[in-house]
Amino acid sequence: MNTYTAQFDDIPGTRVFTAKRAKQGYELNKFCMSLMKAENRERFKAGERTYLDEWPMSEEQKQAVLARDYNAMLDLGGNIYFLAKVFATDGLSYLQAVSTMTGMSVEDYQQMMLSGGRSPEGWRSIKDGN
């Protein structure tokens, strides 16, 4: 058991981008990087499924992209900075996209941030419940 990475699993609501996850998400993240070129963003917007089929990603990864299910993309090896190319293509800010992972509306999430952000209380450790 690798205790370095295993301890990360005790942090609630968090996917730490380890070397293992980087391998799992390699093709998904490569697709994301392609959206740094304006012509690729246009081609993706013109036909998402067709564009996705040009990349050797798993069907699960493609479905997660089509559904813009960012938690699923994280679970399948995506990292937020790669995934940012997808929501940038959609014209969304980090705040708008990030809020979709919390189960809160954008407005409620924005209000939470204005009120000082999510408190660490209850979000430190699954094991210790604090």
Binding site: Q7, F8, A19, M33, A38, A88, M101
Partner: protein, 281 residues
């Protein structure tokens, strides 16, 4: 001889760059963020360095899933702004200092820091937002910049101790450069924030404020903070703070705090900013 004359840390939130680019800095939401940089802008105008060594993390802009260097030093003459998906930021091309970069490469690698050397590098908001915060919107940046990209995205990232020691090695390297240059070291990123999963929006003010104090007064102790503790207490993207120890190491044992700014929120993030002067300056 070259000397390190100041250190600076700041968050590098992309929405802050967008607020500058779109002329929104006077809006009520953004004003308290930018007010904290007024002092710095005045200070920067009368303390122009010849070169800034700027440590930041690339956000999947220059480094792809194919290549993940732990420390990458920009050795080119210039570094254009990257297209992060919204189009490149409308900011000047960053002018490097290839002679000092070559000297840093030689000194640091012989000092056993196995750097990746970059002769082509597009720089993203991690590097350009701090320049905008300090220098506004000039035609050309008023200083040369040597980028030092630090991997804080894919684990394992470097330890705090490694970052502190790299900073100390940068100090030795700068002090052995045979040209009379004023060099500042900036480290960017942080403070507490998390951009992913159900825990997104995580902010820890007590941790952040203690981090400022520990960085200034006892960096050797702070350098022992584990990655797990950063993740748990500062949020998954708060790990960017580990690189602030590079700036601190470069300033020598004792520093004077010139300016501090902290505000929540800047988008998803706790905005934190410090300006420090080494005791020998």
């Amino acid at each position: 001889m070259a000397r390190i004359t100041a250190g600076l840390t700041t968050s590098h939130i992309p929405a802050v760059g967008a607020a500058i680019d779109l002329g929104k800095t006077e809006e009520p939401y953004w004003q308290p963020v930018f007010d904290g940089y007024d002092w710095t802008k005045k200070w920067a105008a009368v303390n122009p360095p010849d070169v800034v060594i700027l440590t930041y993390n690339d956000h999947a802009s220059a480094f792809t899933p194919d290549v993940v260097p732990t420390f990458a030093l920009g050795c080119a003459d210039e570094f254009p702004p990257a297209d992060e998906g919204y189009g490149p930021r409308p900011v000047p091309v960053v002018q490097g200092h290839s002679d000092l970069a070559a000297h840093l490469a030689e000194s640091l690698i012989l000092d056993e820091f196995d750097l990746t050397l970059m002769y082509e590098l597009q720089v993203d908001h991690g590097l350009t937002v701090p320049l905008s915060l300090v220098y506004g919107q000039p035609e050309q940046w008023p200083t040369r910049v040597i980028p030092l990209a630090v991997n804080v995205v894919q684990y394992p990232v470097p330890t705090g101790n490694r970052c502190l020691n790299l900073g100390k090695a940068i100090r030795r390297a700068v002090q052995s450069f045979d040209e009379d240059l004023s060099v500042q070291v900036w480290s960017t990123g942080g403070m507490s924030h998390q951009l992913q999963g159900p825990r997104a929006g995580f902010i820890n003010k007590p941790f952040d404020n203690a981090f400022f104090d520990r960085l200034i007064k006892d960096p050797e102790d702070l350098a022992r903070l584990s990655h797990f503790e950063y993740l748990r207490e500062a949020g998954s993207e708060g790990i960017e703070l580990v690189a602030w120890l590079i700036m601190r190491g470069a300033l020598g044992p004792d520093v004077e705090e010139l300016h501090r700014h902290y505000h929540v929120p800047g988008s998803n993030t706790a905005v934190g900013h410090l300006v420090l002067r080494p005791a020998d300056q």
